[in-house]
Symmetry: C2
Subunit: 360 residues, 2 copies
Amino acid sequence: MPAPAPSHPETLTWTGGLDGHVRMIEQTLLPTRHELLEVRGVPEMVDAIRRLAVRGAPAIGVAAGYGVVLGAAGAARAGADVAQATGEAIDALWVSRPTAVNLFWALDRMRAACAAAVAEGLGGQSLAERLLEEALAIHASDRETCRLIGEHGAGLLEDGTCILTHCNAGALATGGMGTALAPVYTAHAQGKRVSVYADETRPLLQGARITCWELQQAGVPVTLITDGMAARVMSEGRVQAVIVGSDRITRGGDVCNKIGTFQVALAARHHGVPFHVAAPLSTVDTELIEGRDIPIEERAPEEITCGLGRQTAPEGVQVYNPAFDVTPRDLVTSIITEVGVVHAPSLERMEEALQRGGRM
Amino acid sequence: MPAPAPSHPETLTWTGGLDGHVRMIEQTLLPTRHELLEVRGVPEMVDAIRRLAVRGAPAIGVAAGYGVVLGAAGAARAGADVAQATGEAIDALWVSRPTAVNLFWALDRMRAACAAAVAEGLGGQSLAERLLEEALAIHASDRETCRLIGEHGAGLLEDGTCILTHCNAGALATGGMGTALAPVYTAHAQGKRVSVYADETRPLLQGARITCWELQQAGVPVTLITDGMAARVMSEGRVQAVIVGSDRITRGGDVCNKIGTFQVALAARHHGVPFHVAAPLSTVDTELIEGRDIPIEERAPEEITCGLGRQTAPEGVQVYNPAFDVTPRDLVTSIITEVGVVHAPSLERMEEALQRGGRM
């Protein structure tokens, strides 16, 4: 009997045909309110991505693909130039967030699909339909990628393993069952007893708000800690593996992820706990080798000084708020991708995986 | 011309004579409200310590000394047995918080002063007066200890140094100018350009609320970050030293401090940044050699799930909330005490410092 499919919430869906729109979980309201956001135009999608109503590198890629369709379909309905509207939608979405490379990967894929369709002579509604097919394909492929990451990653988890994770790289960060949490869901569905420590992940608390929520929904035991507790928890022997997601991985294997990840990796190394990164190959920036070349988004000071309902720092205090950090490849035990597990990532091993995945 | 005395807020004071009481900054309201709390009895002092209205290991010691006086003076006014009331006050204050050893050190000192006075034949009001003298002496000695830590520590800071600190071990954690921040204040008063990165320090945000506030008041440039950012900030070359306080140091040199400190120490080691601990010798638990033997206070889950004005985790989530962690001596560059700087702390070097300080 095959293991039951793991259950997880649906982050975003395309409703109906070309006259449809995007329905997504409004993640800024979690965990106290579970509301759906209906996104019907390009500016609304840019806003949703910027506000983190949808977040997580793979989910941003899927959302961006659908965002392009919203622009193209709107132009088709208005009898305007669909190819031009597609280009404008891509430009608008391109600047919605700077770090997650999946955004640019998805937009490039939509641009190439548009160019190919135009070259075939398509325009108007038939061009928009082709773009919808492409966006749906991106989503389907993300779902399948998550499933494969789950299968490869679950092989690393023995019965009884407790996993520490940072931020949210679960179902709510993807169009499928997640990246970092996919091995957890898969192992759980296989009947292994797995449990999770979730870093709350300041400033925006994606761990507390989203990871805890989706693991609860799926029936996986989860314990919430603050970001400063990971080293203590490891020193007490409470975790046997770390799995995190990534917003951009260089061809050399350096891993950009939510701020705080680097410290988790240092704590894991000190305690001899394996540190795994789970990410689709679309997260790999093949242009970059060194992590120091990744642009790091700086976000508003208010996320730190009053992001939690009340002011927690004195008026006028200087704030530094980088949204991501870079964990050097030396601290990474493995990168779990849809084509398999890259152990002790190096330029050579990453390129080998990229070739297997058809990305080089 | 001597350097001007550094300016800092007054954490707590004893008002008047034996009919006086304790006036303290109500630290739970910082940084948005600066209010004074008038503490007139033992239960109120126990409550203030438990609620963290007064916090920081040395300040807790000073507050506990005064708390004993409140019990003794009340008994003297009521014509009750002052020695008995003193013992009861000590017992009540003893269980107010479990980790900071200065609390027990101060209470032991008050108990010894009481026993000595009783042996001299003192009782009633004259016994209570002797206890007030002792509590004032504890406070004065803490103030002088902070000043000496500031002088010794400032010698480690060159002009232009940027210091990262975790939690609050400043004026508001002591009866004087602080422990970890004393070298900063002293270097600043000496005309050195020093600046600070302050970890916000979840869950209770003592860094954001208190460290930022008191450094602003003193005119020292301070930048607020979240706890997950320290490693990133170090990797960008932004800090040249870490200084933290401590709630308990073993005779072997292991350092217990606010949860998150251990991770800062790991990040500092990775980046070759010196990691200093500033603490009076009263912080040393001479009974313990290994940090693993220090009891770690676990606090309420609500501090993490809704400590910031709104609920930030799903209902019913499991939480782990240790208030402290232990940084092993191997990661500690030096311990700055009132008798000098203990470089590369070891059992031998700690015992040598304790002997110099008359604690062994």
